[in-house]
């Protein structure tokens, strides 16, 4: 039984890719076979966190959508990044960072139904336990599709008025799609705020479970931008919070 987990936010810049990468690494460290697919074709970036250089990306999701390769050929095995002793596997299906490819998507779009076949092949070929989808912000057709096929959805938001309304819309849309499990992750929380208070207020406002309240500080930003945080700092309190998010998403 495979599980599809989407990590989404209504607005960009919430730390969606960072959360996806860290949760994926933790699940793989626990022994799961995890695939991460970057469907944020318009502004791809998660490959950077996994230390995959742009010129090292051979085939990408774009190649599959344009019929230039099977989706399995676009999967990059990043298990080595987990370090020695990792019992699971980690694969990344990146999006192309080439400007021409991105323009193509913006101009022509792509056949969303291709994704269903692609995801199915991917799960089968790589024997995935978990397929994580790093979505494009907002609620376009591709994102709605990702939500519709997800067994679990984590919506990332910041404790910021700009994020509240869009998050509310996303939650209602996901409820309409009967997503079986939906969680909120509050990211970039100023350290001056009481996490318990933030958690309670957000949970009450949306009547939705809050998986974690992740703090923000310049120090964390510096550490987080240097790679997969949970791999570099396994004993850090932030890693413990990511671990809670991971556990709740696969529960």
């Amino acid at each position: 039984m495979s599980r599809i987990i989407s990590i989404h936010s209504f607005r960009g810049g919430t730390g969606k890719s960072n959360t996806t990468a860290n949760v994926a690494a933790l699940l793989a460290l626990e022994g799961r076979r995890v695939g991460v697919i970057d469907t944020d074709i318009q502004s791809p970036g998660i490959h950077v966190l996994f230390g995959l250089a742009g010129d090292a990306i051979g085939h990408s999701l774009n190649d599959y959508l344009w019929g230039r390769c099977d989706i399995g050929h676009a999967a990059h095995d990043l298990t080595a990044k987990l370090g020695e002793g990792a019992s699971g596997r980690l694969f990344l299906i990146p999006s192309s960072i080439q400007a021409g490819e991105i323009v193509n998507v913006l101009r022509e779009g792509y056949d969303v139904s291709l994704l269903t076949r692609g995801f199915r092949s991917l799960i089968k070929e790589l024997a995935l336990d978990v397929l994580m989808i790093d979505t494009h912000p907002g609620l376009n057709e591709e994102t709605l599709f990702a939500l519709a096929i997800s067994h679990a959805l984590a919506i990332i938001l910041r404790p910021d008025q700009q994020d509240y309304e869009g998050t509310g819309v996303t939650i209602e849309v996901a409820r309409s799609l009967d997503v079986p499990r939906m969680l909120l992750v509050i990211n970039k929380t100023p350290q001056a705020l009481d996490p318990a208070e933030v958690r309670a207020r957000v949970a009450r406002a949306y009547t939705c479970e809050v998986a974690a309240v992740l703090p923000h500080s310049d120090e964390l930003m510096t550490l987080a931008s240097a790679g997969i945080f949970v791999l570099r700092y396994p004993d850090h309190p932030l890693t413990a919070l990511y671990r809670e998010v991971a556990a709740m998403l696969v529960a």
């Binding site: 039984m1 495979s2 599980r3 599809i4 269903t116 995801f119 199915r120 799960i123 397929l131 609620l139 057709e141 709605l144 599709f145 519709a148 096929i149 997800s150 067994h151 404790p159 008025q161 509240y164 309304e165 509310g168 819309v169 209602e172 849309v173 309409s176 799609l177 009967d178 079986p180 100023p190 001056a192 705020l193 009481d194 208070e197 933030v198 207020r201 957000v202 406002a205």
Partner: protein
């Protein structure tokens, strides 16, 4: 009152002695009050500030020893120095007076030089003691302010440290640094409160409903919703 001048209480039931001592003390430049027995002396000590007491031992009602005992038992009076007045031959009473806390003694037949020396020494000690008491009082005020800051129930300008910060010594520096830090803590606390208030999640529900129905009302969404469960099952492996 000059810095060398003190307020002196002369206590003696024998009027000629009282007048003689008062006159001599006044002549040395001090302010003098007189009491004719121990009870009156204690009343005056509780009502007015004194820097020194010249105390006769043998008196009716309350004698000098009893006055000393009561002064030493009273936290407000125990720091006022006492010189006991005794006859030359009454060495035992002098010893007992000093054991009860008197600073010094003065023979009834004294000369002015000896009186000046003993009064000056006592007043000097009293001044040092006053400074010490004031220092300890200000340290206590500072620690009370620290407790308020720790309990987060303070406003920097209500800590009552302004006079303390003008001290030129290390305690003054500590108070200035503390007050500056307390103000910074206060500003941070205020900012925190403001941020918590800003955390109020205000959503325009009508607009939100409108946006949701705009999405869920499309053919694409209706079709997607119809097959979402099947898609999940398909991808999960339950064909």
């Amino acid at each position: 009152m000059t810095s060398d001048q003190g307020r002196v209480l002369v206590v003696d039931d024998h009027k000629p002695n009282r007048i003689k001592i008062s006159f001599a003390v006044k002549k040395l430049g001090h302010i003098v009050e007189a009491a004719e027995d121990g009870r009156q002396a204690l009343e005056m000590l509780r009502e007015q500030p004194f820097d020194l007491v010249l105390l006769d031992i043998l008196m009716p009602e309350l004698d000098g020893y009893q006055v000393l005992e009561r002064m030493k038992a009273d936290s407000a009076l125990r720091h006022i120095p006492v010189i006991v007045i005794s006859a030359e031959q009454e060495l035992d009473s002098v010893v007992k007076g000093i054991e009860l806390g008197a600073e010094d003694y003065l023979p009834k037949t004294f000369d002015l030089v000896l009186l000046r020396a003993r009064i000056s020494a006592c007043l000097e000690k009293k001044r040092f003691r006053d400074q010490e008491i004031e220092y300890l009082r200000q340290v206590e005020r500072l620690t009370e302010a620290a407790a308020l800051v720790e309990a987060a129930t303070f406003a920097p300008d209500g800590l009552g440290l302004e006079s303390l910060t003008t001290r030129p010594d290390a305690l003054g520096r500590l108070a200035r640094v503390f007050l500056r830090m307390a103000r910074e803590v206060h500003v941070r606390e205020q900012r925190l409160k403001q941020q918590v208030q800003e955390l109020r999640i205000e959503v325009d529900h009508a607009r939100q409903r409108q946006q949701v129905s705009k999405i869920t009302g499309t053919d694409y969404f209706r079709e997607l919703r119809g097959k979402a469960g099947d898609l999940r099952n398909l991808l999960e492996g339950e064909e």
